[in-house]
């Protein structure tokens, strides 16, 4: 049984096809057609809806009993994953004749032309507007751009939409804020539903031979995996969802990781940051911002906000795509994975996890429980670069991460000018797996990381990587730019160039982009 709030009404479903998306449910079952299908692949945002979630004690990072709003793509969100959440749709914003402040601002600023992307844009702006009110989103232009990063508009050129967002901030009250306490209570009541109390399997959506499991603990998850070896794990469904909408796959058993306690927590110890595999990018970002700012910046360019609100670090790692954005960083940071099955848990260096193209060291019945990232010590730096055709919501042509540990700087010659004690360089998009540049690291080991050192190192990159030509970039470009990114890293550490002459985002006009 699945229970959630559809706007202000409780919905109880006893049978849900695992592949049924929230969008299909809205448009074809409920015939609430305000939410549009633009691409059915999580890439355009026309289907954006807002989820309200109560973060409870399972999420130490969350404020207890507060309702958090996030925009997601309805087209790839499994309906069954809504259990215990509030689903807010475009139909619920208007109160009588009066439009919601974000709607009114969109009208006033001429923010719609053909109108097809508009419901999705309004929902993204709603989530942003509510989050600004809660202090969890930035009200400035960069914040607006992040909020709109997953919403394509082909008509307006976005300028009036950005203006609408700014205008909407003039209002601070709406029915969502007024009814928040009630909604929290309603959702907490749903959390406590008897099916959930069974603990082991959690809620279960049954339809003859097809099942959707929502376990609450990692042990329950492991037992389910053992009992259903054909089952697929689903976290954010930002990749798996496409198998249903594009390849028309009809999975018979899915196990949802988003309610597993161990997988949805972040543990912050003095030496390590332990991120549950099902923690979304968005929820991980504040922690990464604190300890690994370059990693947090990268996340702003990983998918769109809708994707970051759904997708998870564990999913990105387990998917083992050569172009996943987090594995190169995790490789550079020498992260470890905690892998758990019914036989217990083991730790594995992430470098040993990727066996081949989309092949991993995960054994049958095992899942990734968490990702263990050692924190940076003194004299260490992390730099991360992503190259893609478009800055927002694009897949990497290549991604490069460099972790460097230097000798303690005795001579006062300036940070970053002492000898390289240890170095890890990892790339995505350069090989069949996310991979370390061992030969290049060797060249740089023990050097002063000077221009000449980096130039020598660049020449060895072709020993580490033989990239391919594809739709995103040519092999030659990938290799040449990977080398130049080493130069960029060197220049950044060298600090001889002013920011506005070093970074596209360093100039005053675009300083808002970090």
């Amino acid at each position: 049984m699945i229970q959630f709030l559809l706007n202000d009404q409780t919905v109880t479903l006893h049978a849900v096809a695992p592949s049924m998306s929230v969008l299909q449910y809205l448009r074809t079952v409920l015939v609430q057609v305000g939410t549009k299908e633009g691409c059915a692949a999580g890439d355009c945002g026309a289907c954006t809806v807002v989820l309200g979630e109560v973060w409870d004690e399972l999420h130490p990072q969350g404020q207890q009993s507060a309702l958090h709003y996030k925009a997601v793509n309805a087209c790839i969100t499994p309906l069954a994953s809504l259990h215990g959440k509030q689903l807010i749709t475009i139909e619920h914003l208007q109160q009588g004749d009066s439009l919601h402040p974000v709607q009114q601002a969109m009208v006033d600023c001429h923010g719609s032309q053909c109108g097809f992307c508009t419901p999705g844009i309004v929902m993204s702006l709603l989530a942003w507007w509510l989050s600004v009110g809660q202090g969890t989103a930035s009200a400035d232009r960069h914040g607006i751009e992040l909020a709109l990063s997953g919403n394509l508009c082909r008509c307006t050129g976005y300028q009036p939409i950005i203006e609408a967002a700014q205008q909407a901030l003039a209002s601070t009250d709406d029915h969502f804020r007024q009814q928040q306490a009630d909604v929290v209570q309603q959702l907490q009541a749903l959390q406590g539903d008897p099916m959930d109390d069974q603990g082991d399997t959690g809620s279960e959506a049954m339809q003859q031979n097809v099942q959707f499991f929502l376990p609450g603990s990692v042990s329950a998850l492991a037992r389910l995996l053992e009992a259903h070896p054909q089952a697929r794990l689903v976290a954010g469904a930002t990749d798996l969802g496409l198998e249903f909408t594009q390849q028309l796959a009809q999975p018979d058993t899915l196990i949802y990781t988003g309610r597993v306690q161990e997988l949805t927590q972040v543990i912050d110890t003095p030496e390590q940051l332990i991120i549950g595999a099902a923690v979304t990018y968005s929820n991980a970002q504040p922690f990464l911002r604190k300890y690994f700012p370059a990693f947090a910046d990268l996340l702003n360019r990983l998918g769109s906000l809708q994707i970051r609100n759904q997708g998870t670090l564990g999913g990105n790692v387990a998917n083992a795509s050569p172009i996943g954005d987090t594995p190169p960083v995790l490789l550079a940071l020498a992260a470890k994975l905690k892998l758990t099955g019914t036989q217990g848990s083991r730790e594995l260096a992430i470098e040993d996890f990727f066996n081949g193209y989309r092949q991993t060291a995960l054994r049958a019945g095992e899942c990734i429980e968490s990702i263990i990232i050692p924190k940076l010590s003194a004299n260490t730096t992390l730099q991360v670069y992503k190259i893609s055709k478009r800055f927002e919501d694009d897949i990497s042509a290549l991604c490069l991460a460099i972790w460097i540990q230097r000798e303690p700087d005795a001579g006062g010659s300036g940070a970053g000018r002492s000898t390289v004690q240890a170095i890890r360089i990892a790339c995505g998009g350069m090989a069949a797996i996310p991979k370390r540049a061992r030969a290049t690291e060797q060249v740089l080991q023990g050097t002063l990381f000077s221009t000449a050192d980096v130039d020598r190192a660049k020449a060895t990159l072709s020993q580490d990587f033989q990239p391919i030509d594809d739709v995103r970039a040519s092999a030659a470009y990938r290799l040449a730019v990977a080398g130049n990114l080493l130069s960029r890293a060197q220049l950044e550490l060298d600090q001889t160039l002013a920011p506005e002459k070093l970074s596209l985002f360093g100039t005053a006009e675009v300083a808002a982009h970090d």
């Binding site: 053909c114 097809f116 050129g157």
Partner: protein
């Protein structure tokens, strides 16, 4: 009834009417858009027993169909019918102008993914799954994918065409400087957010009711009738709105309506056909990619003396609209510049790709790009600022005002736009700042460019320059407005309603906008060529004036009104008769006229005057007038990676006397960003087998909110009424701003050439992806190292 509140006609009109022309009214559907209440075809209530259709596709780009066994398709769950060519009672070719577009592959396969058959099932997923089950055998042949090879092999969809004035070859031969270069211009996917969709229901009379997301309902009507062998009058097409179109629903919406109609005919059930995004991208045409060349002769001052320009449009596998599109590329190969002698040659290459089609600008942008490249290249060859060379070559004065197709250009606005923008954008001071910045910045380089646009307004196919409208006035004064144009987001319905509000002097809220329907206004032209408001606004004005005239006649004949004293103003009508001055509301007048048996329904009609063109001599006046504008773009390029950002854009655009400044500004901004996408991140890729690789937004990157310039100053020219008698002296605005984005591409080349001290003309095909920019930088650096004194290698 005497009312003394009103003094004069002009006092009456001053800002009292809500929604007259010139006011920035919101889009008529704005509230519906933001609440999700606006209905698109897929949102309409579904008729009982509706079936959903999908197509089966060719796995190869070129070949002969040997076997097409659909037994497994027919046996699949939920399937109600399959459709092959043999099931089609009427025409099988739906080519809009020339034949070549069979509705399903006719023996031969001409592009990858081409529909081979269609299937209708109870759900869309069942139809899609069933469509994958066909047993197909195709004798494969190597596909032709290179347009230049196609021309070399004489594989064309239409014959070559040439425009000529003077002796270009002789002028170039005598010129002090000669340059030549080539440029590959990429195509563009429309990426309308609403994909292609049609729903069709059989009527009780054997006809068809069609709801279609199309820019051209009349053509859909005609083609549905033809494939079904029905009279055109038996088919009705309705289009309330489209979720974007941009040219992609001008001819390429018809196939899906026709297939749905054929399946509806076969099953006698309603059928909906909606293309999933990947199929939409595979199966419908895109902007033509072009291979262009120039050879120009010029003097020391940068003045062009002769130009020989060749454009090759990659038309894909059928003519579709390519003849007119390549013509428009040729019509715009001069852009804003006088070519004293010119030869412009346009080829229409056949390739085994989906037939390329209309897209905002209709070939114009691709043609314009080559002359803008020439301007930049000439300037760098002479060590001059490109703006100086551009200004030197503008159309100006009585001696330099004739286009290569012998139309006279009135250049006053063009000169003014550039002059004003040069000042408002602070071009020359910024040019200096940028030079200084670049001199002290080894990694990052800035670039700046000002490019103008002169875009010809009218369909170059003359008979399309006509429109109709239908207006009903009801006895409470409410007004029902219908016209032949379609609403795709541009705000056409709003503008046309403002015209009617102005003519009848009633508030806009009294005018009810209705869906475009072929049974209300017949034989309409596509809403295309930026002509929507020009044509339909005039037709609606004609209808409104007819009604106003009838109402005035009524007052004269029945109320003894003095003909000259009748004033329609601010929702009221004033008149004088022997008993004095009177005033009544528009609604009262409508009621009174009805009681006096006056017809309150009228049609309106318009055809564009003055235009004529003789294609055999390539001379005449194809365009009623030109729309103009200019843009200055500033970019910042990372020479290590080729990544870049557009930092600032200033636009000044001429829309004549604007019908609705807010909507016009929206067209300018939106057109610019769409053009910027075309020239920067939007890259279509095919593999060697002719398969489109970029079939979704994951790989095909249109601009997002973060891509727009942080400083984006957009202004409309003030006090610049169209000198031609267009609707309230406004100008068309749909397409022209798209080409303002050429300034971004030109600014990128400016930044790149700075790595070689502006001596090198970097090769930069479009789209200028970070990778292309990177290689252009490499080429410029290399050329500078090889020829330190500057070798012009355009």
């Amino acid at each position: 009834m005497t009312d003394t509140r009103f003094k004069t006609d002009s006092a009456l009109k001053t800002n009292t009417l809500k929604g007259a022309t010139g006011q920035s009214m919101q889009h008529e559907s704005a509230v519906k858009h933001v609440t999700g209440a606006a209905q698109y075809v897929d949102d309409l209530a579904e008729p009982r027993q509706l079936l959903h259709a999908a197509v089966g596709q060719s796995p190869v780009a070129c070949g002969i169909i040997r076997t097409l066994d659909l037994s497994a398709v027919l046996a699949a769950p939920g399937v109600a019918a399959v459709l092959t060519l043999a099931d089609i009672p009427g025409h099988i070719d739906i080519g809009p102008v020339f034949p070549g577009d069979p509705i399903l592959a006719d023996g031969a396969v001409k592009f990858h993914g081409q529909p081979l058959f269609a299937v209708a099932a109870d759900t869309l997923d069942n139809a899609r799954r069933a469509a994958l089950l066909a047993h197909v055998e195709i004798e494969e042949a190597p596909p032709l994918l290179d347009p230049q090879e196609a021309i070399a092999r004489n594989q064309t969809v239409r014959p070559v065409h040439t425009m000529q004035r003077g002796d270009a070859a002789a002028a170039i031969a005598k010129a002090p400087h000669v340059l030549e270069a080539s440029l590959s211009v990429g195509g563009q996917e429309h990426y309308y957010l609403e994909g292609q969709v049609s729903m069709v229901a059989p009527t009780e009379d054997g006809g068809m009711q069609v709801w279609c997301s199309t820019q051209h309902p009349s053509e859909v009507q005609k083609l549905v009738a033809e494939v079904l062998h029905l009279p055109i009058g038996a088919v009705t097409v309705e289009t309330r709105r489209m979720g974007g179109a941009f040219g992609g629903k001008e001819t390429h919406a018809a196939q899906w309506a026709c297939l749905a109609a054929l399946l509806a005919n076969k099953t006698r059930r309603p059928v909906k056909m909606r293309l999933p995004r990947a199929m939409d991208m595979m199966l419908t045409g895109k902007r033509h990619a072009f291979e262009n060349r120039y050879r120009v002769g010029f003097d020391d001052s940068g003045l062009l003396l002769g130009a020989d320009i060749t454009v090759i449009g990659n038309c894909g596998c059928s003519p579709d609209l390519s003849d007119a599109i390549v013509d428009r590329a040729m019509f715009h190969a001069d852009n804003a510049y006088f070519l004293p002698s010119a030869t412009i040659t346009g080829h229409r290459a056949f390739t085994n790709m989906v037939s390329a089609t209309a897209f905002r600008g209709f070939g114009g942008p691709q043609g314009m790009l080559i002359i803008e490249k020439a301007m930049d290249d000439m300037a760098r060859a002479l060590g001059k600022d490109p703006l100086e060379v551009r200004k030197r070559n503008l159309y100006q004065g009585p001696d330099r005002n004739l286009t290569p197709y012998h139309q006279t250009v009135s250049s006053e606005t063009l000169t003014k736009v550039i002059q004003e923008l040069e000042i408002s954008s602070d071009y020359w001071a910024r040019r200096q700042q940028i030079s200084d910045y670049n001199a002290g910045s080894p990694l990052l380089k800035k670039g700046l460019a000002l490019t103008p646009v002169k875009f010809g307004i009218s369909f170059t196919v003359q008979h399309l320059n006509q429109a109709g409208a239908l207006i009903h006035v009801y006895t409470d004064g409410s007004i029902h407005l219908n016209h032949g144009g379609t609403e795709m987001g541009q705000g056409l319905n709003t503008k046309v309603a403002q015209v009617v509000a102005e003519e009848l002097q009633v508030d806009l809220q009294h005018i009810h906008i209705t869906a475009t329907r072929t049974d209300k206004v017949p034989n309409t032209s596509p809403t295309a060529a930026s002509s929507g408001a020009d044509l339909n606004g005039q037709a609606a004005r004609d209808a409104a004036r007819t009604i106003r005239l009838r109402l005035a006649e009524y007052l004269v004949e029945q109320q003894g009104a003095l003909r000259d004293g009748i004033r329609f103003a601010n929702n009221q009508v004033q008149f004088e008769n022997s008993s004095g001055a009177h005033c009544m509301s528009f609604a009262e007048l409508a009621e009174a006229a009805y009681m006096a048996r006056v017809s309150l329904s009228a049609t309106g009609y318009y055809r564009t005057p003055k235009i004529h063109y003789n294609r055999s001599t390539a001379s005449g006046r194809p365009f009623f007038y030109y729309a103009t504008g200019a843009a200055v773009s500033e970019v910042l390029v990372d020479t290590l990676t080729g990544e870049y950002r557009v930092l600032r854009v200033d636009i000044l655009h001429d829309v004549g006397r604007s019908l609705n400044p807010a909507l016009d500004k929206g067209q300018v901004e939106g057109g610019f960003i769409q053009g910027m996408g075309w020239l920067t991140t939007e890259e279509l890729r095919w593999d060697e087998q002719g398969r489109l690789l970029t079939t979704g937004a994951a790989t095909y990157k249109i601009p997002t909110a973060a891509d727009i310039p942080p400083v984006f100053n957009v202004a409309l020219m003030e006090d610049q009424p169209n000198e031609e008698a267009t609707i309230y002296h406004s100008k068309a605005v749909g397409e022209p701003p798209f080409m303002l984005a050429i300034s971004v591409w030109s600014a990128l080349r400016d930044a790149i050439s700075s790595v070689a001290d502006y001596n090198i003309n970097p090769p930069l095909d479009t789209p200028a992806t970070p990778e292309r920019v990177f290689w252009a930088i490499q080429a410029a650096q290399q050329a500078a190292a090889t020829h330190p004194n500057g070798a012009n290698t355009p």
